[in-house]
Each structure stands twice: as structure tokens, then as C-alpha cells.
């Protein structure tokens, strides 16, 4: 087998192997080192809970759907506003200069610290979580778009100029395509942050969503269930990230981040 084929297959071999190793170490920790099952439940207990989940999916599916909706809607808002604000700030230099201190100040605020505020303002329902998800996802998208709008190659601009292209043509043939990879870079970070926002929001208020299930399991000191919900959350994050990644692959097949091997 040649090297290139091997490199392509490598992640598909290494990932299951690493998973198995993790589970083995996990199991050993519970048996050999005798860590309390309240702290670290044995893998089979977690598997048992997951099995129960799969037999009675009603409860967790409802919660998962709520977390999914919060994340996706929040992310959608962030995407639309992030692209618009990023594009405007990228194009209008004086405006960007004027709001830069504010943007930096907002950006360095640990935004999860604001979550209790949003819960007070927008209630314990889904709205406050959507807003939190949107705010967390907004910044990476906006900043990437801003950078992207400014990163159009001068040589490419000159080509369009030498061809007498008008504004719309320059946008549709050049700026749009040139900025798209930056939009997706922002989206890949943004979707993960949106999920984090939704979950932390659920931790702090309300009675629905997978984050809420985590809190309930914790209060009941039900470690296997806690682990199982965390695995569900990981699965949700994985699903969302690869949805964005898949759209990226479809939309910018020419880009460096898409070519080469599978996972990027």
C-alpha cells in the first residue's frame, strides 16, 4: 500500500483504536484503581444507561431537540448578523476604526458571565438560550468575515479592474468567493460556541434541554446518567460541526482546507 493511501486511511484506523484505548483505561481506572462509581462510573453502567435511552427515546429526544433548536436558531442569527456586520465593518474603514475599541471590549468579556442576566431579561424559556448562543457565535463569524473582506488579493482586484468589471461583477466573481472560506472558518468555530452557549444557558435556568438533564442527573448524583447525557451532547456537537463542515465541502471544494485528507 502506498503512502498516500495509508495517510488517507490512517484516521479511520486510529480513531477507533484511540476510542478502545480510552475505554480500556477507563475500565481499568474503575477496577484496578478502585475509583468510586460516584466519581467515575464503569463504562458498562454508562452503556446500560445509553441502552435505556435508546429503548425509551421520548424524554431525551425532546430535550435534545430543544437544545438543537436553541443552538441552530441562535447560530442562524449569528450567521446573518455576523456576515452583515463583518462585511460592513470590513468595507468601511472609518466605521471599523470608530467601533474597534468597543468590539474588542465586548469580545474580551467572558460572555458566559452574562448568561444570568439574559435569563433575568428574557426568561427561563428558549429565548434566553437562543440569544446566548447567538452572541457567542457572533464574534468569530463577524471577525472572520471582516478579515475575509479585507483579504481579497490585490492582484485579483487588478485583474477585475483590467477587465472593466463593474461593482456587482467584482462582488460576484471575486469578493464573494474570496470571502467564503473565512465565513466557513467563522462558522466552524461559531457552531461549537453556539452549542456551548445553549448548554450553559440550560445549566443556569429553565427546565428543558440536554443541559437541564445534566443538572438533574447531577442533583440526583446519578453518575452513569450524567455521563450518558454528556455523550449525547458530544454527539450533538459532532453532528452540528460536521453539518457545517459538510456544507463547506460542498460550497468551496477548491479551498485548501477542503482538499487533502478526510477530517479537517
Amino acid at each position: 500500500m502506498d503512502r498516500e493511501r495509508f495517510m488517507k486511511l490512517l484516521p479511520w484506523i486510529s480513531t477507533p483504536l484511540l476510542l478502545i484505548v480510552t475505554v480500556v483505561i477507563w475500565k481499568l481506572s474503575t477496577t484496578v484503581f478502585e475509583i468510586s462509581p460516584f466519581v467515575l462510573p464503569p463504562p458498562e453502567a454508562v452503556a446500560q444507561t445509553l441502552l435505556e435511552f435508546s429503548r425509551q427515546p421520548d424524554t431525551w429526544l425532546v430535550h435534545a431537540r430543544i437544545t438543537l433548536v436553541e443552538t441552530v436558531v441562535g447560530f442562524g442569527f449569528a450567521l446573518v448578523t455576523g456576515v452583515m456586520v463583518g462585511a460592513v465593518l470590513g468595507r468601511i474603514f472609518w466605521l471599523e476604526l470608530a467601533v474597534r475599541p468597543l468590539v474588542v471590549a465586548l469580545q474580551v468579556i467572558p460572555k458566559v458571565a452574562l448568561i444570568p442576566l439574559f435569563v433575568i431579561w428574557f426568561g427561563f424559556g428558549i429565548t434566553s438560550k437562543v440569544i446566548i448562543a447567538a452572541i457567542l457565535a457572533f464574534f468569530p463569524i463577524m471577525l472572520n468575515v471582516l478579515l475575509g473582506v479585507r483579504s481579497v488579493e490585490p492582484g485579483h482586484r487588478e485583474v477585475m479592474r483590467s477587465l472593466n468589471a463593474n461593482r456587482w461583477q467584482t462582488f460576484s466573481s471575486l469578493d464573494f468567493h474570496s470571502t467564503l472560506p473565512y465565513v466557513f472558518a467563522g462558522m466552524e468555530v461559531g457552531i461549537v460556541l453556539a452549542l456551548i452557549g445553549a448548554i450553559v444557558g440550560e445549566y443556569l435556568g429553565g427546565n428543558e434541554g440536554l443541559g437541564y438533564m445534566v443538572v438533574v442527573s447531577l442533583n440526583a448524583l446519578d453518575a452513569p446518567r450524567l455521563f450518558a447525557v454528556i455523550i449525547l451532547l458530544a454527539g450533538l456537537g459532532w453532528l452540528l460541526f460536521f453539518a457545517v463542515n459538510g456544507i463547506k465541502r460542498l460550497m468551496i471544494p477548491w479551498h485548501e482546507s477542503v482538499i487533502e485528507t478526510g477530517i479537517s
Binding site: 485579483h156 487588478e158 485583474v159 483590467s162 472593466n164 468567493h177 474570496s178 468551496i252 477548491w254
Partner: protein, 259 residues
């Protein structure tokens, strides 16, 4: 009527840091279907001269005319004239999101040519520049020389009357470069285009040009114009002939005096 004309062209660049007198008293008349090479040491204003011909830079003084029409009316560029120019920059500047054929057909797309005609023309040009079979490839899948040929094909797509080339083969190895020189000669003959080629290779200039314009630096001005008498099509072994070498030696001598 001459195809291109520069009359008393001056160019002064003013930046915060410095004022550069890039070109002075440039008078040059380029006939239809003529092949002009511009040589001169680095920084002497070759690119600036080409960009002035292309309408990308406005001269500080003097006039640029194409077929007797002034390129600039005040600060307004005569776009109709610019549409007759094809430019190949030093860097191929292909759009990575377009395939080879879409890159080549980009100027046609901007002109509102329909998709079918565009594709047909792109394939025709791929044949001309030796890119057959790579129509659907992305630029990143091409070698440097192939990218440069794609850029040339893009400039040829709308059949420009004038082809302006800025060191298009500067980044290529000597062998590829010789092959590209032969191709450029045959493309120029086939399309009957007027060509202005900026190069830093004396041999390339002597091999390809009807006339060689030698620029002296600081400020850039025309030091000499050398006529190259060899008939066409020219073969590569021309370079071994004494007459070729005499012209090349004379040019090198002049360049050394500038340095």
C-alpha cells in the same frame, strides 16, 4: 495609424514616505502587429510603463493613445479602448475557485457571452496554449508554467488587439521558458496581436521582439530602441548565431553601463 502611442509621458509617484520620479519623457510609437520587448534593470519603471499602457495607472503628464484615441479623458478611462487590451501580469492571478476553463472564460462572462460560447472558446484556447485535458482542473492542480499559460489564455479569450505581458515567464525554469517563448511567438502570429512584453531576459527579448526598448533608471527613460531583423518564425538555434549574439552583447553592454 499606430496601434499605441506614448507622447511625453511622465510618471511621478507620491507617497507619504517619498516622491519617486518613475518615468520621464517617454515617447514611443508601437505599430500594429508589432512585437515590442521592454528591458531594463529592476526598478527602472518597466511595469509602470506597461500599467500606463493598460490604463491601470494614469500618467502624471503626457498622453496615451490607442489607434489615435486618447486613453484618458481627464480622470475618466476610455473603457472601450481598454476592452481591446489583454494583460498578463507577472503573477498569473488566477481565481482559485474557478476551473481552468472558467478562469479562461472569465472575461467573456463579464462581457455577457453565453455559457455555451464561453465553453467552446475556452476549449479552443486550451488547445492553443497546450492545456487540453485540464479544462476542469483547479489552478492549484497546475504547474507554474501551466498557470501562466492559463493566464495567457484568459488574456486571449476576447481576442484583444494588443497583448501586454509583464515578465510572464519570470518564475519558470530555462527549458520551460524556451518552450513558452516559442508558444508565445506562434500565438502572436496566429492571433495577429500587437505584443508588448516586459522581460529581464536579454535573450528572450532578442528572440521574440521586432524592437527592443531599453529603459534606464532614475528616472526611467528610454535609453535606446534596437531593431531585431530576424525573419519569423524564429527557431531556438537562432540564439547561437553571431548576429543574435552581437545584438545581445550590445544590449548587455548598455545595461551594464546603467548599473
Amino acid at each position: 495609424m499606430p496601434e499605441l502611442e506614448l507622447v511625453g509621458v511622465e510618471k511621478i509617484f507620491e507617497t507619504k514616505r517619498a516622491t519617486t520620479h518613475a518615468l520621464t519623457t517617454i515617447n514611443l510609437t508601437i505599430e500594429r502587429e508589432e512585437f515590442i520587448a521592454i528591458i531594463g534593470q529592476s526598478g527602472c519603471g518597466k511595469t509602470t510603463l506597461l500599467r500606463i499602457l493598460a490604463g491601470l495607472v494614469k500618467p502624471s503628464e503626457g498622453a496615451v493613445r490607442a489607434e489615435g484615441r486618447s486613453l484618458w479623458d481627464g480622470a475618466v478611462l476610455d473603457t472601450e479602448t481598454v476592452n481591446k487590451l489583454g494583460i498578463v501580469f507577472q503573477d498569473p492571478n488566477l481565481f482559485p475557485w474557478y476551473s481552468v476553463e472558467d478562469n479562461i472564460a472569465l472575461p467573456l462572462k463579464l462581457r455577457g457571452v453565453d455559457r455555451k460560447t464561453r465553453r467552446a472558446r475556452a476549449h479552443e484556447l486550451c488547445d492553443l496554449v497546450g492545456l487540453t485535458g485540464f479544462e476542469r482542473a483547479y489552478p492549484r492542480e497546475l504547474s507554474g508554467g501551466m498557470r501562466q499559460r492559463t493566464a495567457i489564455a484568459r488574456a486571449l479569450s476576447y481576442r484583444p488587439a494588443v497583448l501586454l505581458l509583464d515578465e510572464p515567464f519570470g518564475a519558470l525554469d530555462a527549458m520551460t521558458r524556451e518552450r513558452m517563448n516559442l508558444e508565445l511567438q506562434s500565438i502572436a502570429a496566429a492571433t495577429r496581436a500587437t505584443v508588448v512584453l516586459v522581460t529581464h531576459s536579454i535573450n528572450e527579448a532578442v528572440f521574440l521582439a521586432d524592437r527592443i526598448v531599453l529603459l534606464s533608471p532614475r528616472p526611467g527613460r528610454i535609453r535606446s530602441i534596437t531593431r531585431v531583423p530576424f525573419p519569423r518564425p524564429r527557431e531556438l538555434d537562432l540564439e547561437t548565431q553571431p548576429e543574435f549574439q552581437n545584438i545581445a552583447r550590445e544590449l548587455r553592454h548598455e545595461l551594464d553601463e546603467d548599473a
